[in-house]
């Protein structure tokens, strides 16, 4: 599978996404988010340096995360590739997330 999740559920939830998120892998991504939502994290940090593509279903998981974890949740997208940034921009999601080069 071209997609892996490394999760450490505490107040800051971290997930590393690699490869492509399409509707199949988005389901696993969503399951992880659901698990983490139970812990009510304040921040969701997605390490995406090796993510090459995020599909419509993948974008929906981000919106789902906000809905599930509350609108106060800060989402960080760390080191996205240009194509992923473009997808977020064209679909208007860049306003709902923080795109950063590094998460401290």
């Amino acid at each position: 599978m071209s997609f892996t999740i490394l999760a450490e559920a505490k107040k800051i939830a971290k997930i590393t996404l690699t490869g492509e998120i399409d509707s199949l892998s988005a389901r696993e991504f969503q399951k992880e988010i659901e698990k983490m939502a139970a812990e009510s994290p304040d921040e969701l940090v997605l390490f995406v340096e090796n993510l090459t593509f995020i599909s419509s279903a993948g974008l929906r998981v981000l919106i789902f995360a906000k809905q599930k974890m509350g609108s106060g949740l800060a989402i960080y997208i760390v080191k996205p590739q240009e194509s992923v940034i473009e997808t977020l921009e064209k679909t208007g999601l860049q306003h709902s997330v923080n795109i950063v080069d590094q998460y401290l």
Partner: protein, 705 residues
């Protein structure tokens, strides 16, 4: 949540694919628990097969015939389990008789698109060369319908307050001067929202964005060698799917999200979105055209047929959608409801709408059920409905379109009157008086909001070309200049085409300003064609439907090179927006019903209170009393507009103001920029309060405050 519904589980299996009986409604492919519900109507077929593809694959991975027990009435439905929503492409094979004389054209060797598909694949990137050997060119796909709209909602701006901007999605940003990422796409328009706002536009009307095939009838231009394509897109492949090739994300199948994101952004900035919708015909053409969907699924339901089984052609393009067949009527209704509710569309402009009022045999109906249904539909209740009230079959209904208190019309008579007046034709003053009042001669019972006023639109000359060309120059279209309209009422100001003569160029710019000024002070709803505010030229081509190039693209450098026009347009549009007296929802009544001492509107000439309407007259003026704004509900300034299309200057005696008010100059098209127009609120006090010399072929606007 309990998970014990029976329909969550398959009952049947075919080639390893699991499925069960589906739900007949809604039509189309809908995501349901664990699967996808497919439902399709066909009245005369004998059987139907669902064809499933992995995205982009040449051959389907499964073909599932609908078992007989899955058909209720004329509807086939099934739920298929475990499908990958984003990778799936589907279609249908319909079996049945091939008997054109009886209106039946079934051919089960073809794979057909779903008329209710929400996304169509196959033309994902604009002008990417298709594989012509593909067995299934226009592939039905699924769309997610759970977009995050936040608090967005259609704006419901009163129609009389709109300034509509007729725009082509690709043409707006495709020119290299646009300086945007992904030029020519929905996403790129978002980078230009600030421009629209500054210009004062509060509604964009998008030329067709339903999926069409830009390759349809593509050929080479005889003059330039460029490929000529279906650029305007008035040829629908599918009514529910947005044009993938207009989306930067079309290659990923994410056009639905991209369009919705654009609409959300425009709404945030107070700009409504209207769609130009083409329900009069489809891309399948006549009997020689391709079979894409409707023809193969239910030919005699979807199309108006002659008694011999050929296609009626009231659209001028080969076929005519059978809009008043009850099934097709419902499809149109479903479609518009879908766009209004799922895409938050604020209104629709119906191409060749007179066809929507024809019976199944082509007769015009006095009480067309489709038009009535749309007018009274609960979901469309706040949408603007605008008819192009004529068709190519000769039905001309400007002023008489069945309106049910809801429909507005593209006022073709407004366009014709203003054009003739601008080129100094005699006998136009009487007509112009009607036009600036919102055409009460046409819409006495419907009010000025029934009148969509325009001087130019995509179809015909651009505004600049109206004053640069006497004749059309359509050679680049490769039809020996036979295409396009001949009755343009244009005038080249003394030289055909581009010139370096400063006097002619000054006059052309003046005429553009005259046109914009008249349009924006007329009662009714103004519509501006994209680029007219910067003097966009089509080099004399008045039918640029096939030109994907500079003839159609907005050249952003013109905002600087024609800065005088842009500045004039911006100030005029914003003048209309700040003066409610220009935007009455009801017709003026010629009398003083608020006790201001002035009638709501009055007409004048070189003598105040004395308008020369004789056929030799080419000038008149009108005065709006601000105390009557919005029927006296709000207070506005006095506004006086003098229009002199005579070729000599004329002294206009000004109507006297109440003693506490003075006349200020807002616009005088006879003056060079920047003293041709003033910013709103910064008008210039007139030294002479009783007389104004209006130059030859000029419009003067004064504010009394």
């Amino acid at each position: 949540m309990t998970d014990n519904r029976i329909d969550y589980y398959p009952t049947h299996e075919h080639e390893g694919i699991k499925f069960r009986r589906g739900h007949t409604l809604p039509f189309g492919a809908t995501m349901v628990a664990n699967g996808v519900n497919f439902s399709i109507y066909s009245s005369a077929s004998t059987s139907c097969t669902l064809v499933l593809f992995e995205r982009g694959e040449a051959e389907p991975f499964a073909e599932i015939p609908f078992p007989d027990e899955f058909r209720i009435g004329n509807v086939y439905s099934m739920i298929v389990f475990e499908l990958n929503y984003e990778r799936l492409e589907y279609g249908y094979r319909m079996d049945g008789p091939y008997n054109p004389a009886a209106g039946l054209r079934f051919n089960k060797s073809l794979i057909l698109s779903d008329p209710y598909a929400k996304v169509i694949g196959g033309r994902d990137t604009w002008l990417a060369k298709p594989n012509w050997d593909n067995v299934y060119q226009y592939r039905s796909r699924l769309a997610f319908e759970d977009f995050d709209w936040e608090h967005d909602h259609p704006l419901e701006t009163p129609i009389e307050d709109l300034v509509i901007y007729e725009m082509h999605v690709r043409g707006f940003t495709k020119h290299e001067s646009s300086g945007v990422k992904n030029p020519g796409t929905f996403s790129a328009i978002r980078s230009k929202v600030a421009y629209l706002k500054e210009l004062g536009i509060n509604c964009v009307e998008l030329l067709p964005i339903y999926e069409f095939d830009e390759w349809e009838n593509s050929r080479e231009s005889p003059t330039t060698g460029e490929v000529l394509v279906n650029y305007w897109g008035y040829s629908t492949v599918n009514f529910f799917a947005p044009k993938a090739g207009y989306a930067a994300t079309g290659k990923f199948g994410m056009q639905v999200d991209e369009v919705k994101t654009l609409i959300k952004e425009l709404h945030k900035n107070g700009i409504e979105v209207m769609l130009d919708v083409v329900f009069n015909h489809t891309a399948e053409g006549d009997h020689r055209g391709p079979t894409i969907s409707f023809r193969g699924i239910d030919n005699k339901t979807y199309y108006m047929l002659t008694p011999e089984g050929y296609y009626f052609n009231f659209s001028g393009t080969g076929n005519t959608l059978n809009c008043n067949n009850p099934v097709v009527r419902n499809m149109v209704l479903d479609c518009l409801r879908y766009w209004a509710s799922e895409y938050h569309i604020d209104g629709f402009r119906f191409d060749l709408a007179a066809i929507l009022g024809r019976a199944q045999d082509g007769r015009p109906l006095s009480n067309p059920p489709l038009l009535e249904s749309l007018a009274f539909d609960p979901i469309l209740a706040k949408c603007k409905l605008i008819a192009e009230a004529w068709d190519a079959g000769g039905l001309y209904q400007v002023g008489s379109f069945p309106a049910y208190g809801r429909w507005a019309e593209w006022n073709g008579k407004y366009r014709d009157s203003v054009r003739k007046f601008l080129k100094s034709d005699p006998g136009e003053v009487g007509g112009m008086i009607q036009r600036v009042m919102g055409s009460p001669d046409l819409y006495s019972l419907r009010g000025p909001t029934a009148s969509i006023n325009f001087i130019t639109c995509h179809d015909g000359f651009s505004l600049y070309d109206m004053f640069a060309y006497n004749d059309k120059h359509n050679e680049a279209n490769g039809e020996n200049n036979n295409d396009g309209a001949n009755d343009n009422n244009s005038w080249n100001c003394g030289w055909e085409g581009e010139t370096s003569d400063p006097a002619i160029n000054f006059l052309r710019h003046k005429q553009v300003k005259n046109a914009l000024a008249i349009l924006l002070v007329s009662q009714g709803v103004p519509m501006v064609l994209m680029g007219d505010e910067v003097g966009r030229t089509q080099k004399g081509n008045n039918n640029t439907y096939c030109q994907d190039n500079d003839l159609n693209w907005f050249d952003w450098t013109q905002k600087e090179t024609n800065a005088d026009l842009y500045n004039f347009a911006r100030c005029m549009i914003n003048f209309r927006r700040v003066h409610p007296v220009l935007r009455s929802p009801t017709h003026f009544q010629y009398w003083d019903y608020v006790g201001s001492g002035y009638p709501d509107i009055s007409f004048h000439g070189t003598k105040a209170w004395n308008c020369d309407r004789s056929s030799s007259s080419r000038s008149f003026a009108f005065l709006l009393c601000g105390d009557h704004a919005k029927q006296g509900i709000v207070k506005d300034d006095m506004i006086y507009v003098a229009m002199n299309m005579y070729w000599g200057g004329l002294h206009f005696e000004l109507p006297a103001l109440p003693p506490e008010k003075k006349w200020y100059l807002f616009a005088n098209t006879d003056m060079p920029s920047p003293v041709d127009i003033y910013e709103n609120g910064q008008e210039s006090l007139l030294a002479n309060q009783s007389d104004f010399l209006v130059g030859s072929r000029s419009v003067v606007i004064l504010v009394g405050k």
